[in-house]
Each structure stands twice: as C-alpha cells, then as structure tokens.
Subunit: 194 residues, 2 copies
C-alpha cells in the first residue's frame, strides 16, 4: 500500500469521526426529525455527496453515531467491592447523561414514537449494552455474596440510571460524588431502618 493511500485512509477515518461527532451534536441540539445530512456536511466542511455515499440514509448515519456514543458506557470497574464498583459505574453514567451525548440519546429515544424506524436501532443499542461492564460488576458481587440471590441485577442498574436521568433532566442539578454516594447507598441498603 502506498504512503499516499494510507494518508488518504487516515484523512477518511478522521472525517468519519468528525461527521459522527457532528451528528451527535446535531441530534442533541435539533433532534432526529430536523437532522439533515447536507447540514452536517456543511458543519464539517465536506461534500454532501461523499456523506451520502457512505450513509445513504439519515437512519444509517444515526446508527453509526449511536455506536460511537455508546462506547462511553462500556466501563467494567473492579474496585473490590460492589459499592466501589457501582460508584465508578454511576460516575460514568453521570458524565454520559449530562454530556451532549446523553441529550442526543434521550432525544433519539423520544423520537421513536413518531419515527418507528428508530425502534430497531434503539433496541440494538440496549442489547449491546447488556453484554458489557455493568454485568461483570454484578457477577462479581454475586460471587462475593454482596447481593441477595433473589436480587434483580437489571432492576438495580436501570434504577441507578433512572435516578441519574431524573437528576439531570428533571431536577436539572449536576450529578456530583455526594449525590452518587447517596444514590448507591439507597439502592444497596434501602430506605427502611436495618
């Protein structure tokens, strides 16, 4: 392979990255409905024809952008305790949720009602998430006896994510470590006196 060819590939891959980032930023700002490939081409200073060659439809472009966004949620912390691992996980969730990525994903999720073609894409993103870090954390905690055998790992992880979702989007308060500790302790220990 010639050096010129390699350099063209590298430029191409940088362009792809910039296009996907611009797509996520537009998803966060204007949502799926008003996202337009020509506008994204303008934003990154590329020709819209080259974007259409790689992503013939908006849906395909958004699918690739979503894959990039979800890379941020694949952490598998191993601090030695369930509490420590959950704190590390919720820090990642908190950063993700309050970044423009989080807004982009939430807007995409809401757009499913009016754009059924998005449903498959959202379901695939969720399914992919299930094979990653958080489930390792749960398996190790079960092995250490830190979770009751009857506990429901999905419910625990989804409720942590839901608490953060409410904090960021409904209460409009930034997620800090003091909040995450209170959230994790509530879900581990419960609100009833022990």
């Amino acid at each position: 392979m010639s050096e010129a060819h390699t350099s063209t590939q590298a430029r191409g891959s940088r362009l792809v990255q910039r296009v996907l980032e611009a797509t996520l930023s537009q998803l966060a700002q204007v949502g799926y409905e008003r996202l337009a490939i020509p506008e994204i081409a303008d934003l990154v200073g590329a020709n819209k024809t080259s974007l259409y060659r790689r992503w013939p439809t908006k849906l395909e472009l958004v699918a690739d952008a979503l894959k990039l966004a979800m890379q941020h949620t694949e952490a598998a912390p191993d601090t030695g305790s369930l509490r420590g691992d959950l704190l590390a996980l919720t820090r990642v969730m908190g950063e993700f949720t309050q970044s423009s990525l989080g807004t982009a994903v939430l807007r995409l999720v809401l757009a499913q009602d009016t754009h059924p073609e998005l449903r498959e894409l959202a379901a695939a993103a969720q399914q992919a998430g299930r094979d990653h870090g958080p489930w390792l954390v749960i398996q190790r905690a079960l092995a250490r006896g830190e979770l009751s055998a009857s506990s429901d790992p999905s419910l625990l992880l989804f409720t942590l994510a839901g608490g953060i979702l409410h904090r960021v989007f409904v209460e409009r308060v930034r997620v800090d470590d003091a909040y995450l500790q209170r959230l994790v302790d509530l879900l581990l220990l419960g609100a009833k006196p022990r």
Copy 2:
C-alpha cells in the same frame, strides 16, 4: 347573572379545557418549538384571535396547560403502610409517565436547553409538586418509624420517579404492578442481603 351569561361562561370554560388538552397533546407530538397557537385553534375549531386574547404568548398557554397536567400528580394515598402508600404513588406516576402527558412534560423539560424562558415555568411546576401528596406519605412513614431518620425523602421519591422514567422511555416496557412492587421493594429494602 343571566342564564345566557352563565351558559356563555360554561362554553368558555369548556373551550379553555379543550385548548389546554390540545396544547398538551401537541407538546407530546411535536414539542414546544413547533407548537403554534393558530394550529391549536384549528384543532379545537376556534378562532385564533380568541386564543391570543387569553394567551398572548405560547409560553403563557403552555404554563396553563402544564398546571392542568400536574393536577394528576397530587395524590396523597393513606393505606396505613409506607409500602402500600408508595405502591399507590408509583401507580399514579406510572400512568402519568406513560400517558401523552408524561411525554409532553419530558419534551418540555428537554426544550429548556434551547428555550431558557421555559426554565422558570419548569422550576415552578417542580416547586408546586413538593407541597403535595408524596410529602405527606413521607411524614406519616417517619412518624411510624418506617423510614430511618437519616433517610432522604426527596432522593427516595425522585429515584422512584427516575426508575419509572427509565422503564417507560428507555426500556420501552409498560409499567405494571409486578414491576412497581419490585421497584418499591428495592428502594425500601436495598439490594444487599439483610
């Protein structure tokens, strides 16, 4: 007051109700940005001038619609136990969240980023919510010793709401009683073995 006058008032009040319901439905479907008073006038078969007379701006119309929507969240169940009360509360939250009202409110909450004039309105709606039913439930539970004195009532209620938010909008699963029982028990008892 003449009978004719009363009947005009009644018609007026029915129209207000229909306009506010149409506003909530449009908020859920198209969001704040694309909401338009003339379209709502068309939907309810009224003259747009009469709508503009009552609500000179879209923001004033949305504020009144939001007040109507939030009436649904004022329940104060009194079943005799914290678990029973929280189940009753989460049933109301679940119905609200998965109705078009819930979508309308969430879209409004997301629109704050690009429409700062909505912030005051959302903050007022939240503040109003704090004086209502859920806080009575907490006070009675504290009096009965069902909550540890160090517990954080806001965190408990907001995390319940967050779990439902995640279930409805991210997981896209309908909230049923089996789910609500698992959610309430997780938050009351915690995931660690007792």
